[in-house]
């Protein structure tokens, strides 16, 4: 029986890790569909950002209460997973509480700490469920989240509560069985744990056999639940718990006002004006700006997978908050959705086959792009260093330079700049007329 269970455990574990690795590889490949961009500069500053922005969640602390709650879930979930090491080893080796005999009092200290964190995680997840579903918080009510994204968020919170409850149930039934001297449990006396001992009352009326069944069920559902969770992550907005770290490392370090230079066009101008200075080996780009996800930088694509759809960007966006169609959060969600679609297309067909769709137009409309004031509020707000603005600007470049798609007023502005060297139709001769006016 034990061998059978060990085998079953190893099989489930291997399948779960295998499936996750496969999906992780797809995500890696998808991100690499983006254009090259070099982020190898200033490693010291980058590590500092990773420490402050990802581990320290610095930007979250703009709203200290929410940040603290978020930190509890993050730290709680992460730290409790240290216990995973023992659980996995127990599963593989067919042992029970493998570490208990070796660690003595420290073992109880650890489990007590995990139990306290588990209670904190349950409490905060419950508050988050209330915030999302009962309190009328604008960024959670937004139409961006209609359908799957809203359920996704709730599934994660409910999932975490269930996992934590299983962990406590497992400990409560285990310690109760220990106190009864039940076989298989009394060999490792850990003593009662700080939280789960209070659950003994619920289980005390049950027979040893039933308790063992509950304990085993809780143990199995807990570990299988965590493995399921691992495999749910890549399909979920919750992927940020992993990608927030590289996203912080690869954060853009130049001042936020800086717009990405287009060397190709810089060279075009040089060819026309000073050919002797223009590089002779530069390859002409096949298109200007971004029409689809492959035209964006890999950095933008990593952004898309790192987005947890919290909506802080859209809550700060002057366009979104005044009722325009644009929502920076939707820009990120659209980019990820389209990227997933393109990735699937490539894996099915070997290479990308035109599906008559593109990020621009099929997902993000001209009206959305036009509404952006480039104010950087979205970039400033994002706790995980995402720039929706960069994507918006790349798509605008495609609209204007590939499709000549600009509102008449902008075309007038362009022609004024070209002919009058100012965005309005004034004579350049009058540029200094203010001196005498």
């Amino acid at each position: 029986m034990t061998y059978l269970l060990q085998f079953l455990f190893i099989a489930i574990f291997a399948v779960a890790v295998g499936l996750f690795s496969k999906k992780a590889k797809h995500i890696w490949q998808n991100i690499r569909l983006g254009k090259d961009e070099d982020f190898s500069d200033q490693p010291a500053k980058r590590w500092k950002n990773t420490l402050l922005l990802a581990f320290g969640q610095k930007k979250m602390f703009k709203n200290p209460l929410v940040a603290l709650m978020h930190f509890v879930v993050y730290a709680g979930f992460l730290i409790i997973n240290i216990e995973m090491l023992e659980i996995v080893l127990d599963g593989v080796l067919g042992t029970h509480r493998l570490f208990a005999p070796y660690m003595g009092g420290f073992y109880s200290f650890l489990i007590n700490a995990f139990e306290c964190l588990a209670v904190a995680v349950i409490a905060v997840c419950a508050i988050f469920l209330i915030r999302r579903n009962i309190l009328k918080i604008k960024r959670f009510l937004s139409k961006d989240l209609q359908g799957w994204p809203r359920s996704d968020a709730n599934f994660i919170l409910i999932g975490e509560i269930i996992l934590m409850c299983l962990f406590l149930t497992m400990n409560a039934t285990d310690t109760l069985l220990q106190s009864r001297g039940a076989a298989g449990y009394s060999e490792h006396l850990t003593g009662n744990f700080i939280v789960s001992q209070h659950l003994h009352g619920i289980f005390s009326g049950l027979s040893d056999g039933t308790l063992m069944t509950i304990e085993r069920m809780a143990w199995w559902i807990h570990i299988v639940g965590i493995l399921a969770y691992l495999n749910y992550l890549p399909y979920s907005k919750h992927l940020h718990i992993m990608l927030a770290f590289p996203n912080a490392y690869f954060a853009r370090l130049e001042p936020q006002g800086t717009m990405k230079n287009m060397t190709s066009i810089q060279n075009e101008v040089l060819y026309a004006m000073q050919p002797e200075l223009a590089p002779t080996d530069a390859v002409a780009p096949d298109k200007f700006g971004a029409r689809d996800v492959m035209d964006l930088s890999w950095r933008n694509l990593l952004d898309a997978y790192s987005c947890t759809e919290c909506g802080r960007c859209s809550a700060a966006c002057p366009a979104t908050t005044t009722g325009k169609l644009l929502s920076p959060r939707k820009i990120m969600m659209d980019t990820r959705d389209r990227l997933e679609e393109v990735g699937k297309n490539i894996r099915t067909n070997g290479s990308f086959q035109d599906d008559g769709k593109s990020l621009l137009h099929s997902y993000i409309t001209v009206e959305e792009l036009r509404a952006c004031t480039t104010c950087n509020a979205c970039v400033e707000e994002c706790p995980v260093s995402i720039s929706p603005l960069e994507i918006i600007l790349e798509l605008r470049r495609s609209l204007v330079m590939e499709e000549s798609n600009a509102p008449q007023e902008w075309n007038n502005m362009f022609s004024s700049i070209e002919n009058n060297f100012a965005p309005w139709k004034f004579s350049p001769d009058d540029r200094d007329a203010w001196i005498n006016s």
């Binding site: 001042p255 004006m273 002057p318 005044t322 169609l325 204007v400 330079m401 600009a406 902008w410 350049p428």
Partner: protein, 260 residues
């Protein structure tokens, strides 16, 4: 007004300490021209050795670039850098945060590297150094002034304190709107929005911001960008508050408070 141009100075073999980049709004927009003049008044009063490009100045290309027209931006940048480097310009002061941002962050990679300073920072420095002397009990003493953060100064370049310190030097009562500093709400003009009609929505961005400014109970809304100034002036008019609330550039406030 006596203002030297680079061409004149170069002809007599002279090089000013700093180039004042007036910008398109500052040159052509009637309201923004008053900001330009106020700033020049201060520069002259302090005796700053400066010049302008005059007719040789051109759009930096900012609105074209933000609208997506990189070709036009690169053309303008190329021409401007030719002129600026031709005169050996080392330092530029500008009254427009968009010009400031593009010179500081986007021209260097194209071969145009200068020390760039926004006029609010320069004013703060001159006040701190005691070079700008302000009237005792000037006209803004005790007045409630709120400062509207320009996106291209604030979030784009982290200049939040300089304009505020200038306002405090006026002995004014500085009050903050709910959304200020890094959370400051855009006036609605950036990203080439100034040059086109706004998309359909519930409210115009400049009205939303102006309502917030009006609600702050300020008597003066201080701006540091000619475009913000236009947007907020329009918004205050729409709210029918133009008689009780003035929208003024930081430079205008200083110019009106200079000691004789």
């Amino acid at each position: 007004m006596q203002i030297a141009t680079m061409a004149e100075l170069a002809a007599s073999g002279k090089q000013p300490e700093v180039l004042f980049w007036v910008g398109c709004a500052g040159s052509f927009d009637q309201r923004a021209q008053r900001i330009t003049k106020a700033f020049v008044t201060i520069l002259n009063k302090v005796g700053i050795d400066f010049a302008i490009l005059g007719k040789e100045e051109m759009c930096t290309g900012d609105p074209a670039r933000r609208a997506g027209n990189e070709f036009m931006f690169q053309m303008m940048a190329y021409q401007n850098i030719q002129v600026l480097n031709g005169y050996g310009i080392k330092k530029i002061v500008t009254t427009c945060p968009h010009c400031f941002n593009i010179f500081k962050n986007e021209y260097p990679v194209l071969g145009g590297s200068y020390e760039v300073i926004h006029h609010t920072t320069l004013l703060q420095q001159l006040i701190n150094e005691g070079k700008i002397k302000l009237k005792e009990g000037g006209s803004f003493k005790g007045k409630k002034i709120t400062y509207h953060d320009s996106c291209y100064l604030g979030r784009a370049n982290h200049i939040y304190e300089a304009p505020r310190q200038v306002l405090e030097a006026l002995d004014a009562e500085l009050i903050e709107m709910k959304r200020c500093r890094s959370k400051g709400l855009c006036c609605g003009a950036g990203g080439a929005q100034m040059f086109k009609e706004e998309e359909a929505g519930n409210i115009r961005i400049n009205i939303e911001r102006s309502k917030e400014a009006v609600a702050s109970d300020a008597q003066v809304i201080a701006s540091a960008c000619p475009f913000c100034n236009t947007m907020l002036t329009d918004g205050v008019k729409k709210e029918e508050k133009e008689d009780s609330i003035q929208v003024m550039d930081v430079a205008e406030l200083v110019a009106a408070s200079l000691a004789d």
